[in-house]
Each structure stands twice: as C-alpha cells, then as structure tokens.
Subunit: 490 residues, 2 copies
Amino acid sequence: MTALSSWDLMAGPAGTRPVLSGRPRNAKVLILGAGISGLALGYELSRLGYDFHVLEARDRVGGLVWTVHGGTTHTEIGGEHQQCTWDEGLWLNAGAWRIPYTHTGVLNYCKELGVPLEIFVNEADASYFYREGADAGSLANTRVRLGEVKADIVGQVNELLVKAIDQHSLDLPLTAEDQERLVGFLVAQGYLDRKDRRYRAFADRGPGDPYQLSALLKAGFGDRLRSISPRDGITTAPMFHPVGGMEQIPKAFARAIGPSRITFNAEVHSVRQDDHAATVAYRDTKTGRTRTLTADYVVVCLPLSIVAGLDCQLSAEMMAAVRATTYSNSAKAGLGMKRRFWEEDDQIFGGHLYSNLPIGEFSYPSTGYFSRKGVLLGFYLHSGPAVTLMDRPIGERVEHVLTHSSKVHPQMRREFESAYCVWWRKVEYSRGGFANAAPLARRAQLSKFENRLLIGSAATAPHSEPDWQEGAIAAAWQALTSLHEHAMRS
Amino acid sequence: MTALSSWDLMAGPAGTRPVLSGRPRNAKVLILGAGISGLALGYELSRLGYDFHVLEARDRVGGLVWTVHGGTTHTEIGGEHQQCTWDEGLWLNAGAWRIPYTHTGVLNYCKELGVPLEIFVNEADASYFYREGADAGSLANTRVRLGEVKADIVGQVNELLVKAIDQHSLDLPLTAEDQERLVGFLVAQGYLDRKDRRYRAFADRGPGDPYQLSALLKAGFGDRLRSISPRDGITTAPMFHPVGGMEQIPKAFARAIGPSRITFNAEVHSVRQDDHAATVAYRDTKTGRTRTLTADYVVVCLPLSIVAGLDCQLSAEMMAAVRATTYSNSAKAGLGMKRRFWEEDDQIFGGHLYSNLPIGEFSYPSTGYFSRKGVLLGFYLHSGPAVTLMDRPIGERVEHVLTHSSKVHPQMRREFESAYCVWWRKVEYSRGGFANAAPLARRAQLSKFENRLLIGSAATAPHSEPDWQEGAIAAAWQALTSLHEHAMRS
C-alpha cells in the first residue's frame, strides 16, 4: 500500500480519488460483479482493511474489459459457439480499448498496480479516407490518405492567403516585419514553393498530384482536421493501452485483491435484505448448486440490464431507474491476418480507416509493429449493422466485413486467417455494451443507498460518462464514499 | 532462414537488400567490428553459408548502438570512470535512439530477428518551447506548449482568412457552396467561435489567454509547424525504437550469428595482406596476449577514426580517404529521475523540449509511461557545449544540464537521482560519434576493394547518410555485394 501522490489527487474526468480513513466495526461487504467498477471498489476496500468478497458469474474478471486471444471461447445467447485460433501474442480488445491521457483515474491505477502501457495511435497520417456514394463528389470510392488531405488542404489554403497578403487585399493587424514572418510561416507550413509561393506536389507528400481543395472539402475529408486534439473523447491524443491487452488492468486489480476474495462462476439470482443483513443467492455454474452468502452490505456492480432481471430487494423507484437505463449495441469483429500488409504495403502503423462503409471503426493495431501477423479491428459499431447483423451467422458477419474492407484494402481476403466476433448484446452476463449516459436525475436516483444495498455500476457514474473505464472508476469511487460513510455511522 | 518478402525488396533509404546466391570455394572472411555494419554483414554471410568470424574490441556488440542501464560502466579516454546506478528497467540509448518508419533496412531486420518495437514519440503537443534572449521578443523565457502554439497560430490565421472571405476581399477560385465549406472547415479546424468566427481561449487548449500571432512568429515557435511530417530525417513520423533499448537490435544480430562467431575483447592492431591471405593481429585485452588470424578476406567495419590509427595495408589513396573522414562530437547525458514529473505534472508523454538552451535536444522517454521513475535525455549536442564541456569533470557537465533544464522544469533538482554521460569522442574504440557525410567521390574511394581488404563501415554508405543505423546497413549491403562478387570470381 503506497501513499497517495499529487497525481492521485488530481481531479480527472472521474473526479478525485476519495481519501478515506477509519475501519467500521460491522462492515462485511459483498460486491456483485468483477468488472472494473467492482474491482476498483474491492481494491479500495482492501486498502481500508474491509472484510469483503466479490462474486463473478464468468470465469474471468473484467466484464466489458475483455481481451480476446487464442483459446478464448464464448457462446452467443441463443447462438453460435466461437473459439479463437489466433497465434500466441495476438489479441483484440473486444470492449474497452483506449485510454485518453486525461483519464487519470484508470491511469493512476495502472501506475499503482504496475500495468505497463504503450501508446495507442489514434491518428496516423498514412491511413485512408474512403467515402462511397454520390455525396462524396469526385473523390467518391477513392482512397485518399489523411496526410494527403492535410498537405493539400493546408497547402492550398496557405497559397490563397499568401496571395492575398501579397496583393495587400487583407486588413492585417500586423507590421510589415510581422507580415513577412507570417508569409514565411505559411510557405514553410504548407510546403509552398519558396519562389512563386504556389502549392504543388512535393516529395514528402508521396506520389500523385494534389487533390483540389473543393473536392476535399466536398468529400468531407477536412472534417477531421483540428489545430490540436481535444482533451477527452475518442479523438484525444495521446491515448494509451496496456501492453498485452486491456485485460491486464482487471487482472492486476484481481492480483492486488488476492484470489481468495473472488468467487468465479457465481451467477447471482437474488439479493434480499432485512434489518440484520443482506443475503445473496447464487448458482455455482460449474456444479449447478445454489449457495447463499450474507453480509452487512451488498454493492451491485453488474450491468443494470442484468440487475433488471434479478430478484432484487430494491424500491420501485430504484428498479424503475434500473430498467430505464439502456445499454449500447456495441459489436466488434477482430480479423486475424497472416501478414501485416497495412504496414508492409501501405506504411500504416496504428490509427483508423475513415470511411462511411457499414463497418464503422476499422482500426490497425497499435502494438506488435513489424511482427509477422496482426489482428485488425474490422468492425466496430453501436447501431446499423451492429443490430441488423446481430442474429446472422458469424460467417455472414465476417463476410460482410471482408466484403466492405476489401474496397479499401484489396489484400484482405488473401491475408485473412480467422475472425472472432463479439456482439455484446449476445454476450451472457453482459447483454449489452456500455451504459448509455443517463439524465443526472436518474444517476442521482441510482446512486442512493437503500438500507444495505447500493449500486456501483458504471451507469451510476456522476462526473464521467459510463462508456469509458473512467466512468466505472467514477462509479466505484462514488459507491466507496457512500458505503464508507454509511458503514462508519452504523 | 526465411524467404525474402516484398517488404525486404522494397527500396528504402539504404537501397534494396542484395539478393545473392552461390557459395564461393575459398572465402574465409574476417569482419573487424561488431557494430551494426559488421553484424549485418556477418548475418548476411551466415545466410549465404560463408565461413566468417567477427573481432570486437569491446565486451559488447553494437558499437554506437549502446544502451546504458544499471551496471553499465566506462572510463573516458584520459578521464573519469562512471558506473550507472539506475534501477532495473531504466535505460538511455546513448547512440542511435530512433528509427524513421521509412528505414526499411533496419526495420526489416527487426522483423526478421523478432525485435519488438514500440512507437518513438517524436512530437508531443504538451511539450514546451522555451527561448532565452532578446531575439525571442515578448515570449522570451516563457514556457509555451507546442499545442498552444498550434492552436493560437492556426486559430488566428483562420480568423484572418474567414474575415477576408466574409468581406469578399479574396479572389477565391471557389463556388459559393465551396466557399461556405471552406469557412466551415476554417472555423472547425481553428476552434473559432461558431457565431462571430473569432478565435478565443477554449477549453481544449488549456488555461490562459491565447498568445499574439506576431509574438509567436517573432519567437520562431511557428518554425516547427508543418502540414505533414517529412519522410526522412529527425522530424519524421512515425518513428520506432526497440522495447528495452536499441541494444536489442545488435543483440538479436549476435544471437542469430551465434556466439562462436564473435570474439570479444579483441583489439585489432594490424591488417596485412599478400597474394595468399590477409592477416589480422589483435591483442586480447583480458590476457594482454597478441594473436593473429588469417583469412581470405578482411572487411573492416570499424569507425574510420580507429582505422586511421591502425597498421593497415591499404593504398595511400585509401588511407587518405580514411583520414579525411570526420566524426561527430556527439554527446548525451541521461538523467535518472525519481519521479516522472513531466508526465504527472505537465502531461508530457515522449517528445522533446524545443529550446535554445545550451543543452541541445532534451527529450522525454517514449517508454515506461506511468511507471514510477524515468530517464530523461538531458543533453544531446554535436557541437558547442558538446565540445567545450568535453574535458570538464562529469559532475560539472551534469550541473550544466541541471542548471539549464531547471529553467523549464523547476522540479529537476528535487527529482534528480543520478546521471550518466556519454561524450563519444572520449569513448574508447569509438573516438567520435557518427561519420559526417562525405562527398560521393570519397565514399566511392572508400568502397573500393583492395586485393583482400574491403571497408564496410557506415562512412562508406552509398545511398543513405552514415549518421543513422540505416547508413550502417547500406554500407554492409554494399560490402556484401562487393565481397560476394569478388569471392565468386576467385
């Protein structure tokens, strides 16, 4: 146990890590669910010296933080069984997959628990834009690299501006000397010809003539360009991910908590409470036997989509808030490839394809550069085909991904080895992806203590959105503070 | 031994990897020096089935590719002894430290030899500019982040341009619809206010008011901004470096060649040749005994600054070319820090400080993010203080680095643990840094076969500059082709 540093106390999106003290007399705690919120809560309780135990329905920790690799299996609800056959060292983060540098809640735990992180490349200039349909104008169905878009837009805009400055047609609030510096900057930044200050093809841009400014804007390719990256959300830079997959985070929590604190294959069926205790009944899915455990407090860190189906002694208001909470239809397909052709043939190292193809986010691995094989994220969506393909055979979903991604990468089918599909709505014990952000009033309701029961799922996150690990940690911290206050009063 | 892929055959800066066949009858080869050129040559000879051996004066492979870590020691020529005391897992690449993605020669070997690579962050928006002196204008002695520079320059330039478009003072070759798209792009890219289209402070930029465009340009901070990164040189992106330090590359070569092929502590004194054989005399620095080895060919892969002092049976023209080749005064200081304050306090993850302080390149580690300690590159120069501090005590050099870097990072002295200095001019068996690029005529002279002797040092590199590992590989490939042709004819 280490002292909290200034880093811990820095408020990130998840707020500030609670600084608590004291150990309550009667405070045996049961945590339901070993996802990030349950694990973070358990870890903090262990630091405070609580007597606690975690029940987890699966045979692994992490919940939505799930790294698929060779040997991974699951059977879709009412559907197919899959077994992953990728070589050792290859993996796909089927759930959480990237951490903005501002998410100091989860990053601090990585630091404290010794989880090595590497850069998640969230933008690569070599990656392609690709737009189908007449709306995209003359660049429809054309691969254009992000770097070409940047070079051609900035180059042509700077050429326009330099011309205007030269013709004194601008009302510039600058001295002559400053104007000269501005022109020098525009020429250098935009790779304009030093003599005639025009923009033309240049070696660092790669082969081919520049695309017309109007065509690039019409195609919408300029929409991604910003002077700087935002501090939060999916376009933040830098981002990080654990070496070896996101599962390293829940695994590190579990190691720190200790194996005796977690019971796996424990499918919770009911949560009851009275003046003396709370009682949880669960089925051991290995033996089929039902068991009960009692505790002073139960913190429910399960997806609310699961809680909605439990026999749970919560108020009608609470259960209404639970049932009103919706979860995403997130779906991912990982494609194991024989050869990292995107690196070898296209010089793409991490980053994403920017397309309007019905495959959503298509991403290149930010790990294992220059190794032989690799896993592409071939499909990541929360709607559209994530829903329409949900009940189609796995083979058909993979075919969909290969068909569309081949429009950009003709090498796809030749290099394809095997796929693994995770449609979260059909994953048992999840039955959905991340919680959709709820109105604050509902979150306030969900975070209320009801006698001996408290909800600590990511959906209750007060500061942070529930669709990031940071949200799960915010929820855990809120539950921790609430629980500790309650227990210290009792 | 694997077949060459399309990747191997792609011409990078080092040219194309030679595709050779056949095994000469009499071709015992001695390679002098186990730096990258000697190792790459040895590796290729082993693939061709040659009988060869490598002599190396040090007790390690790699030459200029040297990773300093806890336990590393060296004694400067005529100077001080150092022993590195950093914790396990901390290191500094004292020589080669970054590989542009276009350097397919060295990257292909990493792939073939299984050397894991990670991203070398060559530009981080959170890093600071800092300029001393009146030339920098009103921003002298002020820390300004690269991201602030980008946001403020692009924002103010876009505001100017939008105003001009609105006032129809530009002669735009665009339709009204295209103009509207252009304005939309400029507003979004520059984070302009959506209503009045003015540039103001905004949340993603961080706290504080924008800096004046004229002040930023005057300070020269705009000089680093380019629409895209170049494909070669020190501002390329992306770049890579091996996980665990650059030494992983020479170590992997050495493993592939096999330990029996390399003799360490073998300080070469003379290279003689006649019609029958070449003979190398060397001193075993452990025993002090002199030994000789004979071979059909000797390939000299030592720095030419070392060759200049050998009794080497080469022509007067060749020795003149050898002696005319100069080497850099490269010097680096690594600072072991107790706390990664640049990450915790400043949110800087990799990248460099852009300053005119007399410490040259000051860089943040692109590895071990969010771990506890870290090693800063506190000083990297080839001239100025790299020369004037050369004969000063180590402590004085470290004091110089701490004094100047503290102007930007006041935490330096408090968090400093211990330093390690590598002034290459004073490193035995190197006596200089990288070879300075020579005129092509001299390189042509250096690459000539002289009976049984051939030079394969990086300084002879034909396509690529000798100041990168890629140059050493280009030199090795050139020597390989030349040697094999020669041997097959004999």
